[in-house]
Amino acid sequence: MTFKRLSISMSFVVFIMYGGFILSLFYFYNGRLFLEIFQSERTLFSIRLSLFTATVATLISVFFAIPSAYALSRFRFPGRQMVDTILELPMIISPVALGAVVLIFFNTPFGMFIQGKGIQFVFTIYGIFLAQFITTVGIATRLIKAAMDEIPVRYEEVARTLGASPSKAFFTVTLPLCKRGIIASSILTWAKALGEFGATITIAGSMAMKTETIPIAIFMRLASADIEGTVVLVLILVGIGLGILYGVRFLTGRSMPM
């Protein structure tokens, strides 16, 4: 078997594996139940909550990720290596552990002060924002940095010689040039936030009609052995996820910049 055939075969093995898992859902699929669960108030609340929190968390993540990615892409500064490593934390630490870290923080005097005088994060929607933010900001920064690395510094140098200040050069040249990369990164960040479970359930809990996002709703149904209900929610999540992946491909015209 040639190397080319071997690599193509491997990609199909992965495809068949995922496809097989998804198709297996239809073994327990019940059309009538699908509509019933999909239209229930609790499910619709979970969908709305997931879409809303993922959108807010993505906006906050991207807001921090764009300047951070630019700094890491363009400048050499003391502590750069440290910042770079910390940003990888959500990728190497389990989201549950990350959520536990945050929960423990809110039990320290400073954390309790924030909870008391500022925003109540634990077991509230703000906890969901925070959980999704801490698990996605590192990935968002990585993806946006990759997009910025592709833009030669030369364009900014040209802009500078033409009278643009560093910030103007960034906003008029670098940002428009990596716009597609930023949009694609934002969509992937949003998808990651939408599917976030571990940190969310640790910080915000699993209160129906309050902090129950789709992944948490799936977990709750599975925990009560409601397989058919679980299938419906998984199919909803898969539908949204696939829609997003196609959106990214449509926008970038190529594979995702992972």
């Binding site: 030369r154 140098e157 040209v158 500078r160 010689t161 009278g163 643009a164 050069a169």
Partner: protein
Amino acid sequence: MPKIELKSTTKYILKEINLTIEDREILALVGPNGSGKTTILNIIAGLIDYKGEVFFDSRKMDHVPPHKRRVGYLFQDLALFPHLTVASNIAYGLKMQHYPEETISLRVNELMDALHIQRLKSRYPQSLSGGEKQRVAIARAIAPFQKILLLDEPTSSLDAQTAKYFRRELQALLKGMEITAVLVMHDLLGAEEIADRIAILHKGTIEQVSEPEDILFYPKTEMVSEFIGMPNILHCDTCHVLSSGLIEITSGNMKIVLPYEGKVIKKIAISPHDIYISDTKPPGPALNRYMATITEIIPLRSVVRIRVDVDGNKLLTEVSKETFDEMNLSLGQKVFIIIKLRRLRYAE
């Protein structure tokens, strides 16, 4: 339009550079790769930190950021903004410097006319040819009424014929704008065509700054002489205008016929590889063909330099190693030499 002064400027390979570029002068920096030419441009533009001082019209510029220096820069890779049309690329600097819309529109149109790129107005850089990109990049660099223009290899993306034409056009444009310009060029002949003065750089030091003619006829160091191809300099004793646009000059006992351009010729520089050498009598007319005696053979890595004596005139010629081996030349041997007319350069 400022005078530029670099005082004891040091960065990377550059060592204590002292250089003055006069107001409205076109100076070409010429030298081998890695000699520090582009670094000098980057220092003038303020794009890199450096030791030493830079003055524009006696004003210290060391802490002035690039966007406040008013220095246009044509980078070697041109770097046209791919997300902007040709017109928007040219207008970019004017917008950054807050010129009114009316001025921007007038200036963009004026430059597009001057550089013959009006028809490209709405196109994006990706769809332009190398020459078109070059013109757009120049228009963009000079659009915001810059006082200084830096050009890094401005003809590098053009073929030889287009480059020659473009150099003439560029020189006329620069002179017309009364701008101080510093060019980096690897080609001495190209630099001679466009620059008022040439600075020869080697390993981070300036070997010589002179008018093109002086570089050729009075190289100050061995390196400069080597870099310009160690030309033979012949002093002309008499000039005699012939019919058919030619002039005959005598130098010692040699008579050389040259194209006549209406001026008296005082000196000629002939590059060693522009002198053919042959152990047999070459066919064709005897114009600028002489008998010579080999006085010295200097073997180098890929070429052999041969000193010959033509009726008392000492000339240096150069042949490839293969040609030398084929002809089996030796000291004292009588040979024929022919001087190529087209590559002669004159001091008038």
